[in-house]
Symmetry: C2
Subunit: 305 residues, 2 copies
Amino acid sequence: VADATARDVGEFGLIDRVVSRLGTARQVLLGPGDDAAVVAAADGRVVATTDVLVEGVHFRRDWSSAQDVGHKAAAANLADVMAMGGTGTALLVALVAPPDLPVDWALGLADGLRDEAAEVGAVVVGGDTARGDRVVVSVTALGDLAGRAPVTRDGACPGDVVVVAGRLGESAAGLALLQSGVLTGRLVDAHRRPRPPYALGPVLAAAGATAMCDVSDGLLADLGHVARASGVSVGLHTDRLRAMLVDGVTLQHALAGGEDHGLVATLPAGTPLPDGVRAVGRVDPGPAGVLLDGQPATGGWEHFR
Amino acid sequence: VADATARDVGEFGLIDRVVSRLGTARQVLLGPGDDAAVVAAADGRVVATTDVLVEGVHFRRDWSSAQDVGHKAAAANLADVMAMGGTGTALLVALVAPPDLPVDWALGLADGLRDEAAEVGAVVVGGDTARGDRVVVSVTALGDLAGRAPVTRDGACPGDVVVVAGRLGESAAGLALLQSGVLTGRLVDAHRRPRPPYALGPVLAAAGATAMCDVSDGLLADLGHVARASGVSVGLHTDRLRAMLVDGVTLQHALAGGEDHGLVATLPAGTPLPDGVRAVGRVDPGPAGVLLDGQPATGGWEHFR
């Protein structure tokens, strides 16, 4: 039935259809269909993170396709694994949906999750579904550190270089366009589907990154987390940032806009910069905070306000 | 402030307060506060499962305290790990909440999650929060198999004994009481806080269980999963079931009511039954399905209908 809804096919019918879209991989020792999945954790540790997307808050069904939402939900989580220096191995997905949700939407979501996970070789191994007024997609990503120590937020040292990788401000610029009625174009697509620089998390970890964080709340807010956790002052050069912006993206988008899921890290001075990584500032002794061209700065996204 | 809401303290204020309630344990290599957590997976594998609770579907804030909801959300997930023969090690929690949610409710939820997790030595290692109309609590549990193979649903063999452990029908009976206006008592409490027989999952796995499943959708529905996955006929003796019911619980509650998060398993005939485990039927060659005193039976909970 082309226009079938969740109600039409029922909970188990929906789950069967979704599971039939998913792939598998060597690290999946037991996939969907039992009480729980079993995933290999070769180095005796597992990275784990959860990010939730709410319809009307993180996405709109008239602005983003189901596939887009799947890509975004997977990317938000896999980027957190990347920011520890790891690589995603598996996703678990809880979908809350109204009974009139088209089955095709749920299948599109599954396709988006599967395809984004495939970017790093991860697969969807389990999930749950329940009834609710609005679509909520809660994803947990598991990941592997390949024997390395996780790169936390609290290791930035005075003298370190501040580097960024991935898109900067493009998601925020795309959101502003959507809000003004522009529904197509490169920046709008950047809002719909972030492109985290997945490979660079492990690369920066191996290069000796002293702190690392994904850019999900905006560059200032996320660097603020690093500055406070490390007890250091993080200075950014706005000319360096401006030089990186693509057409249509303002410095404000880059500083305060989240959801690009790029990487920000600190590296010991003199570390050769991997391809795709650019230096934008340096770390100095406290007080803890972020300076823009030497001036204190704040800003970013937060819920409930 | 005694009556503070999520809006009053903001996203990061809420997270800080919640995190301050949580404990830690040896298996937690990196806890809350970074992009992701890192949890030990000593035997090179990790069990993972997700269950979501939605306000108005799985709980009502006027029927259950925040602590109750925390206990229930943790138990639903930890019971899935138990049903693989494993033991929970860590929880991740996504909380969707309206901005007017009292901070005390979120803290009560955290306390309930923490205390239920502590029953098996697990801890909350991470999470996320976002704004929404209704409270949604999505939990992922990670767990450890201690070197054993996971016990799946598809291994039941003709000749096996069917066994159950844990409460039977008490949550469903308690829900019926709540719906009729009775707000206190043992059964109502059983609905508010399930008590999965956590220790018996690993015990039954070690005893050679050929299939195992937690009782979350009702005994008939969950045994139906085992029967279909294993391609066998599962026969239940209603007199054996009736003999196990506590006052106020009917056979229908036990057969069709979910949410007790007990265990149902199949064991090779002649296996000595561990304490707390009772035989209620036997496995025969197909057709796949569940028989009640020799007659075909169906029933259970499902969303969207």
